[in-house]
Structure formats: C-alpha cells, structure tokens
C-alpha cells in the first residue's frame, strides 16, 4: 500500500506540472500532450511510454485498492466492524490525538476512486464531454472548466486527495521505516502536509483560472 | 543441639527433633557446589522427555527454572494465577541485581558478597547456601546480558554498576529503576521460547490449591482454573513451588494484590516444614499511606538512598514546610548514627531508625508517619539531568501517586512490608521436607537469614531458577520416572475432595463481612504486633486476636457467586483463610524467638542505644515448624559459622 501510494504521489506531481502548462497556451499544452505519446521513441512505439506508465499506474491503483480492502477486512475482524467506534462510551469517538485526515482515509479513498473514473472518461477517453467535443486536449480541458459544476466536482475531489495525502504520505513513509526518531516524525508529518498542500493547490489553480476567465479556448 | 532458652509458651507449640541439611557436602566452602554437582546423578538426555515437572509461579525463580528445565528437555507444566507469566511480581523490583563481578576493581569478590550476605542476614542464614549464591551470581549477569536484558551502560559500552543498601562496593547491575521488569522479561522470553519448542506448557489463570502427596513424595497439585472454576489434579515426577513471599498477610505491603501464600501454606499443611515465618522485611523507602481505602503500598527503590539524604526536623511537632527548615535544625539521623554507612545502612536498620524518630513525634506529613528523602544536595552537585537519568521513572511514579514534585520538595517516605525471608524449609538441594517438592526464590527461606540485602532477591531468584535447581532437580529425577498416578489414586481423590469441600464451605458461610474486611483486620494486627517492633505481650495478644478473627471468618464471611465461574471474591477468600492460619504461626515464631536479629526486633532485647541484641547462644538456628493441626512442632536446624565470624553486626 505504501509503495503504490508513493508511486501515485509521484505521478500526481508530474501530472500537476503538466497541467500548469495550460498557462502557456493551446499549442504548448497540446504539444505536451502529444509528446507524452512520443516519449521514448524510437525505442518505444507511439504511445508505448505512456502505456508503460498507464500499466504501472493501473497496477498501483488496483494493488492499492486491494491492500485497502485487506486492511479494512482485518480491521473489521479485529474491531467487530466498528473500528474506533467500538466502545459504548461516546466521549472519545475522535480518539486522543488522531487527525481528521486519518479518519477519512477509507471513504476519502472511495471518493477519489470514483472521481478518477469520471476524470478519465472526461479528459482522457473523451467518453463524456461537458462543454463540448474537441480533438484538442487543451480545448477539452478549458471548455470543461468553464462549467461551474465541473470545477466544483474537481474541487471536492482534490480536497479529498489533499486529506488522503496528508495522512497517506506520512503513513507510507513511516510504514517503510522512515520514522526513526521523534524529530524525524515531526519532519515527515511536515513533509506530508507540504505535499498535500502543493498537490491540492497546484491542481486547483488551472481550473479556477479557467472558470474566472484567465484562460480561454 | 542446644537447649531451648525458654520453655514453650504455655502450649502454643512443642519442640521436636532437630533437623539438619544433609545435602551440602563437607569440605572447603568454595568447593561444595562443585562437589555437589559432581556427586549428583545425571539424567540421560533421551530419558528427559519421559520426566515431568510442575512449576508453580512464573516470577524470576519459576520462569527461569521452567525455561531452563524445558531447554534441558524435561516436560514442564507451568501454572500461574495471572493472565500471563510476564506479570509475576518480580516485575516490580526496581533497584538492581548483585553480582560479584568486581568490574569496578573495588575489592569485591565471591567471598565478600558471601560475607556481606551472611552478615547482612544477621547470622541466621546457612553458610553453604549463601556462598553458592555468591558464586553463581556472576553467571546470572552473563546469562541475562546474552538474553538481551538492557542493563545500564557506560559510554564505553561496558556495564554500569552502583552501590546498593548495606554494602561498600559497587556490585549492583541495574536497568534504570526497572531491573526486575527487564530480568523477568528475559526469563519470560526464554520461557515462551520453550513453549514454542513444545517442552513447556503454560497454564495461566490457574491457582494451585493443594499438593498431592503419594507414598511420601510430592506427585502433583490440585489447581483451579480461575476462568471456568474447574478443579483438576495435575501430576508430575516433581513439583517446584516458586510462588514468592507472604508479605500480603499484612494486607498493606509492596506486594502485588494477588500475591499469596496459599501454595506454600497448603504444602506446609501436607508436611513441608515452614522456616522462620516471623522474618519479614520492612522496607524503609515506601510512599506513606494516604488513606483508609489504600489497597497497596508503593516502594521507592532504595537506590534512591545513594543520592538522597534522609532527615527529619530536630524539633518534635515542627510543622514548617521542609524548605523553611534551616540546615542546622534538620536531623540527618542515619548519617548521625551510622557515620560509616550513613544513608546506606541495611533495610532493617534504616526502617527502625525511621520508626524511632516518628515515635519521638518528629515524623513529617499527614499523621506524622514519614521522613524526608531529600535530593536537593544531589541535584545541586550532579545537576537535574543526571538525577533524572538515574531515578526519572521513580520520581515520576512518586509525583503520580502523591501529586508532589520530588525535584522541588523532598520525598516523604515510610517503611512498609516488602519481603519475607522466611518460607518453606529447604535443604542445599532446595528440596523441602517432602521428597520431590522443591521450593525456590522468595518462597523458600534459605539465603537471606533474618534480613535481606538490597538487590539480592533478584540474584537469589535467578540463581535458584537458572543454575541451582536444574542441577539438583536432575539428581532427584534421575531416580524416576516414578510410578504413575492418576485421578483414581486414593491420595488424589482425598486431595481433590478436600479442595472441593473447602470451596463449598467458603461459599456456604453466608455471613455478613467481606473477605477484604477480614484481610484488613488481620493486616492491622500483624503490623501492630508482628511488624517493625515486637514484644512478648503484643505477640501474645496478637495470637489470640488472630485466632478469634479466624473463627469469626469461618462464621461470618460472605463470598458471593459460585465456584463454577470467574469469581475473584472466592479466590481472595481462600487466600485470606490461609493468611489467617499463617499469621498465627508468624506470631508464634516471633514470640518464641526471644532475641532481636535482623528484621526481628524484640523490644526486650536491645542495646542501650537501641540496636538489635542477638542471642547466638540460644537462637543461632533456623526455626522450622511442622504443621500438626494443633500446636505446631518446632524443629531446629543449628547454624554453624565456619567462614564468617559470628559477631555483633555494626554499621557505625
């Protein structure tokens, strides 16, 4: 779970970097989208590099989900399906110190998974097309983000991702053995917050710029 | 054998034939253990699986013995009343463990540890046993370090040592203030390793309620499963009792609330002699009692006396806060009375001195039952971080219990019942007077005489369990396997019936008083009359009072619930019933020992400046008591001192 999570974090950072190219205009963005498919040529066929990444990502996502289900099932078995709410007393339902993000890992993850499906249908496979059909990724993106409810759904998903990363990034590093001292623990948590904020904000800048007319098709 | 100095007190007991240890070989004391081991029979490794041993109790002695016997290949069945072997009360020992390693090059040796222990015990321990303890002590440290016990280290990576109550060399190894915990976890882990290997089976939440004696040999025990209430007989070729001391007879003590004397008392009733029951150690550094509902007393390790200074105001009834009392108006009474040893005098001496100043009205804190243990000088000299490193967890514990900060104000301490030197009589092989019944650790009487030195209990428990018992028990087992016994044997049937009958009787009394109320009352009687200072008059009263209380117990106790379930009231009732019998024997023993020695201070026998006055001519013996149902019979084991000169103990 930790390893696949970190792979996806890495992907998100690159993806975010690509998104920010929206600010350079249609030619640059579409060129970037095109070059994603010519990566590694001539050693790899057209789209080959991208497919490798897609396969790695797909495996990561599936493994991540499978791990989540395993963890969930074990947790259910160990706590009678009640988790932290297994005591009659309702006075410490939020635990002693646990963060909000640690509460939302499971349902936040489900939210994110649903969003990813919608997101792929919209901007990758072009199956659904709010804002109109286009062969240009730039145009599809910009058209989509001119619609308020598209931006809203996108925002909700990214906040979910932010919370997910806040706890997930820390937990992944700790689970892989990086938490070796109290000082280290503070640093890892600070890093997790930073990564969560950067990714959330980094992804939200383009859609809001589009929505408020900063970028037009 | 010497004549009695005093006739038996009006039929309280009678004197029987003397008893002697026949197992320690003659010859130079340094060679006796080697000779004994060489003469002992061995068991062929292939035969060990056919030999079984029952071990009751999983503290340092029981845990280490069971693990070692398992490693040897015997079939070991272990029972403990706690939910896991790791909880035995050895875990609470704080200060450390002695060993004659002489790592400090300060003149220590096996001979000196031997000498200190015999002298510290005020010449009421057996020389052969004590010397063996000192010899084996060095192996214990090796064993524990190899197990991963995280002893305190110096910067060079070597083991650290400190000096500990009553001695002038630094021979005490420690793991902060949790030495007992770390040593016990070492033994527990070794035990669990054998459980995984299939040589040892642990039966947690089981309490031994009787001993099965067949043809004069200990062949099994009757246990009660504390969860289901099932009473069953368990059989083996030998039985080892490692059930600790009986300090809880006093109700308030530093023992765990579950500690009890039932196993040794039931064995005593089946024929094992009980030695020196009146030798109970009162530990000087405990947190004073705070209220009537208190269920136990908490020890502050006496290692605190290395850096803390004990004092009271010079003026009786001085109600000022300690910080407001100037230096010249303080009485550092231990440093004043014992300039050579100062605050490090043995426990009995320190306890009595504290009691004396409190009796003079100079005690501090609520009720005037306390003295100060002050770290101001040490903090000024060494700095707070050093003190925190040495005693941090003890200071935290003190603050937690009293809500006072010992870094700022001195601690208040007062003596409390801590350890029982008395226990079942054993020979050099640690075998009781019942063949096949071995007794190790605090449960036996053998090594500490009339007073135990600090950091010696852990040493003795592990010496018995890791090194002594496995050799001597093998000698006994070499004559086995003994004829098989089962539930149908008359002895088994009789024992099972007796246990069941007693449970039924406890449940059937149906009186009005709770078990705990009897226990508290017994504790008060014993503390008042068989505690730090004893008198003929007080003990005579106490015997009558204990008898009356016991009679009332069986008439008016109430034990709710049934025997076929988890019933903690029933568990306690059985234990208190045994304490009510043992308490009487403690008083009889204290009354008969018409001298002062070690912890046993008879007010009639003291020097003009209040020190204990021993009577070696008449009392240099072990008092081993036989149970008869009527007045007990005293068997004396005369003690001879060939290597340590029998002289008045002085810490001046």
């Amino acid at each position: 779970m930790a390893v696949t999570g970190l792979i996806m974090v890495l992907f998100l950072l690159v993806h975010m970097y690509g998104n920010l190219k929206l600010f350079y205009g249609q030619a640059e963005f579409d060129d970037y989208a095109y070059h994603l498919r010519t990566m590694g040529q001539p050693y790899l066929p057209y789209s080959g590099g991208l497919w490798i990444i897609r396969v790695v990502l797909l495996v990561s996502v599936l493994t991540h989900i499978a791990s989540a289900f395993t963890l969930w099932a074990r947790s259910r078995r160990a706590t009678g399906g009640r988790g932290g709410g297994r005591y009659q007393s309702t006075r410490a339902r939020r635990g002693v110190q646990r963060s909000y993000s640690s509460f939302t890992m499971r349902w936040g993850g489900v939210t994110i998974a649903l969003f990813v499906v919608y997101h792929l249908l919209h901007l990758t496979t072009d199956t659904i097309h709010p804002g109109g059909v286009s062969s240009s990724a730039y145009v599809r993106t910009v058209n989509g983000f001119e619609i308020w409810w598209v931006v809203l759904s996108y925002t909700v998903a990214l906040i979910a991702i932010g919370f997910h990363l806040r706890h997930g990034f820390w937990a992944a590093l700790a689970s892989l053995g990086a938490n070796t001292s109290r000082r280290r623990r503070r640093h890892l948590n600070a890093l997790a917050v930073a990564v969560a904020v950067v990714i959330t904000v980094g992804f939200l800048v383009p859609p809001y710029t589009v929505l408020f007319g900063g970028i037009t098709a | 054998m010497s004549e009695t100095a005093m006739p038996p007190e009006s039929g309280l007991f009678s004197v029987g034939a003397p008893i002697a240890d026949t197992k320690a070989p003659p010859g130079p004391i340094g060679e006796r253990w080697d000779v004994r081991r060489f003469n002992a029979r061995l068991v062929n490794p292939a035969n060990r699986r056919r030999l079984s041993v029952i071990v009751i109790g999983t503290g340092l002695a029981g845990g280490s013995a069971a693990a070692t016997l398992g490693e040897g290949g015997y079939r070991v069945e272990v029972f403990c009343f706690q939910d896991t072997p790791r909880r035995a009360h050895s875990i609470a020992a704080q200060g450390g463990i002695n060993a004659a390693k002489n790592y400090r090059n300060d003149g220590d040796s096996v001979m000196r540890l031997f000498y200190d222990t015999v002298k510290g015990g005020d010449f009421r321990a057996r020389e052969s046993n004590v010397h063996r303890l000192a010899q084996v002590s060095v192996d214990i440290i090796d064993q524990c370090v190899a197990q991963g016990v995280p002893f305190a280290r110096e910067y060079g990576g070597l083991l650290d040592n400190r000096s500990f109550g009553g001695v002038q060399v630094s021979r005490t190894f420690y793991a902060r203030g949790q030495t007992g915990q770390q040593l016990l976890l070492g033994a527990y882990q070794a035990l669990e390793r054998q459980v995984a290997a299939g040589t040892v089976r642990v039966h947690a939440r089981h309490e031994m309620l009787d001993l099965i004696v067949v043809d004069g040999r200990a062949r099994g025990v009757v246990v009660r499963n504390l969860v289901t209430g099932e009473v069953s007989a368990q059989f083996a070729d030998a039985v080892v009792l490692a059930t600790g001391g009986y300090g809880n007879a006093f109700y308030l003590s530093t023992n765990a609330v579950g500690c009890n004397a039932t196993a040794i008392w039931r064995a005593h009733r089946r024929g094992a002699l009980f030695a020196n029951p009146c030798f109970t150690q009162i530990h000087p550094t405990c947190i004073p009692v705070s209220g009537e509902h208190q269920s136990k007393l908490t020890l502050m390790s006496e290692s605190l006396r290395n850096d803390g200074r004990i004092w009271v105001p010079k003026l009786a009834g001085d109600g000022r806060a300690p910080a407001d009392i100037p230096e010249r108006e303080r009485d550092y009474f231990l440093e004043r009375r014992y300039p050579a040893f100062g605050n490090l005098v043995p426990r009995d001496v320190a306890s009595r001195a504290a009691k004396n100043v409190c009796d003079e009205g100079r005690g501090v804190g609520p009720g005037g039952l306390g003295v100060y243990l002050d770290f101001a000088d040490a903090i000024a000299r060494l700095g707070r971080p050093v003190i925190a490193e040495r005693y941090g967890n003890l200071f935290d514990m003190y603050r937690q219990i009293t809500s006072e900060d010992p870094y700022r104000a001195p601690m208040r301490i007062y003596p409390a019942v801590h350890y029982t030197m008395g226990g079942l009589w054993v020979d050099y092989d640690l075998q009781s007077t019942i063949p096949g019944l071995f007794v190790i650790g605090e449960a036996n009487f053998s090594d500490h005489g009339a007073n135990r030195l600090g950091a010696s209990a852990l040493m003795q428990g592990l010496a018995d369990g890791y090194f002594v018992l496995p050799s001597t028990l093998a000698h006994y087992l070499a004559a086995g396997p003994y004829p098989s016994v089962d539930e149908t044997h008359p002895a088994t049937r009789e024992t099972l019936a007796a246990v069941r009958e007693r449970i039924t009787r406890l449940l059937a009394v149906g009186g009005r008083r709770t078990v705990d109320s009897f226990h508290k009352e017994l504790g008060t009687i014993l503390w008042d009359h068989c505690g730090m200072e004893r008198t003929r008059e007080g003990l005579t009263q106490a015997i009558a009072a204990v008898r009356a209380l016991r009679e009332e117990f069986w008439r008016d106790v109430t034990v709710p619930g049934s025997g076929e379930e988890l019933n903690q009231s029933l568990e306690r009732a059985g234990r208190v019933a045994d304490f009510l019998e043992l308490g009487e024997l403690m008083c009889i023993d204290a009354l008969h020992r018409d001298e002062s020695c070690g912890c046993h201070f008879r007010a009639e026998h003291q020097t003009p400046d209040g020190e204990a006055l021993r009577d070696d001519e008449h009392f240099a013996y072990v008092a081993a008591w036989e149970h008869t149902g009527g007045p007990p019979v005293l068997h004396k084991e005369q003690l001879a001192y060939e290597y340590v000169e029998l002289k008045a103990r002085s810490y001046k």
């Binding site: 005591y87 009659q88 689970s175 | 939910d83 609470a92 995280p150 054998q194 937690q400």
Partner: protein, 270 residues
Amino acid sequence: MNITLRIWRQPGPGRPGHMVTHRVDDISPDMSFLEVLDVLNQRLTAAGEDPVAFDSDCREGICGMCGLVINGIAHGPQASVTTCQLHMRSFADGDVIDVEPWRAGPFPVLKDLVVDRSALDRIIQAGGYISIPTGSAPEAHSILVPKDDAEDAFDAATCIGCGACVAACPNGSAALFLGAKITHLGLLPQGQPERDSRALAMIARHDAEGFGGCSQIGECTAVCPKDIQLEVISRCHRDVVTALFHHGEQQEGPPEDQTGGNLASGPAGD
C-alpha cells in the same frame, strides 16, 4: 467526591453484556481508580450483589495486568499512566464515568472487565526472544553495547504488555506491542543473528492472531502508559522489509521453521 460509574457487565465469554450504572459516594481524590472499584465491590458484596470482575495485580503501573477503557480512552484520561496509577483527582465531583473492557477480536471478554490477552504471549512465542540456553552465555563484558543503543533498547523494552495499544487502535492492531519487542532486541548486538527470522515470524503471528494492520494513526502511542513511541513500528517494518529482501536472496524455507527449541530432542550438557 461522589461519582457515577457506568460499567460494562457481562456474565461470561460470548454472553451478551450491557452497561450498568453504579453510584459510588464518599471517595477521596487520593484514591486510585481501582480502589474506587474495590469500594464499589465491597458495597455490592455486602448488598448481596455480584461484584465487578476486573484484572489488577501490582497496582504500581508495571505488571500490565490492569486495563480499563475509561470514558472511551484506554487507561483513562491521563497520559502515560496505567489504570491503577490513575487517581480520582483526575475527575470532578459528580462525574459520570464510562468503564469498559479492552475491545478487540483477539481479546475476548471473559467476564465484566476481564479479557483474555494470551494472543500477545503467542506473538512473543513466535520469536520475541534471543536463543540463549542457560549456561551458554559468554562473559557479560565480551558484548559491548553503545550507551545510546542500550538506552533506546531499554525504552522499547519497557513495554508492559497491557494491550492498551490494541484497545485504542481504530484498526485493532498490536503493531506497537510487536514493534516494541522487535526494536528492543533488534537494537542490541545480541539480537542480530535472529533479527530477520524474528521480524518475519512475529509479524506473521501477529496477523494470524487476528489483529488489524497498522495505518500509522498513532492512537496507540497516545495511550501507552510507558510512552512507547511510534518509531518502534517503523523499525519493525524496516526489519520486515529487510528480512524479506534477505529472504529472497537466500531462497530459504519459511521463517516459521526457525522458531523454538534447541534441545527438545538433542542432548543437553550440564
């Protein structure tokens, strides 16, 4: 002080239980929480009712036998103490206090507030030791241990096995208990030969006992009476990953085969 206790009462294993309200009057702030239960039990007994079953032994915070979930928090509201060391001055006059047993699949309730924690013993059996039969130890000073390592090992070794970590964990994981032992032994030179097999065997046993997985939430360390730090879990995972790596390199048999007795069938010398 007068307080009201709402206590989980359950007659036996697998039987239904429920919260029962008991009032306890005239208690002193200096009493420990368990002493309040003692007082309650005295009164219940005198009134002919069944007293509340609860575990306790040393009552000085070291044996690990006691453990109650008080107002939803394992060992109660005060940090770094066991239930027996929790004093009534942590509560106010008139408080209503909820008292429940540890709850976790591997800790079945035996009666009222008493649970079975033997699963923790079985985790130790899987490898929580150094294999050193009595008598075979080298001279103590032949093993040097850097002071810092000894101190860190000690910090982990102070675990009292009370199970509060499991009771508090939203996943019902015993990772803190497991990590504490793996850290203690893994930091010492004596523990190195079995470091890989220990980590693999112990975590396998932990999982097989039905404890949940760790997701680094940290509730365990917040209730730990001995302040065992979350780092021990990281160290445990690191040892497991390293062991899996070594394991792959060496192509050995399953690590579970390496547990246990050296002399169960062979000769022993003494």
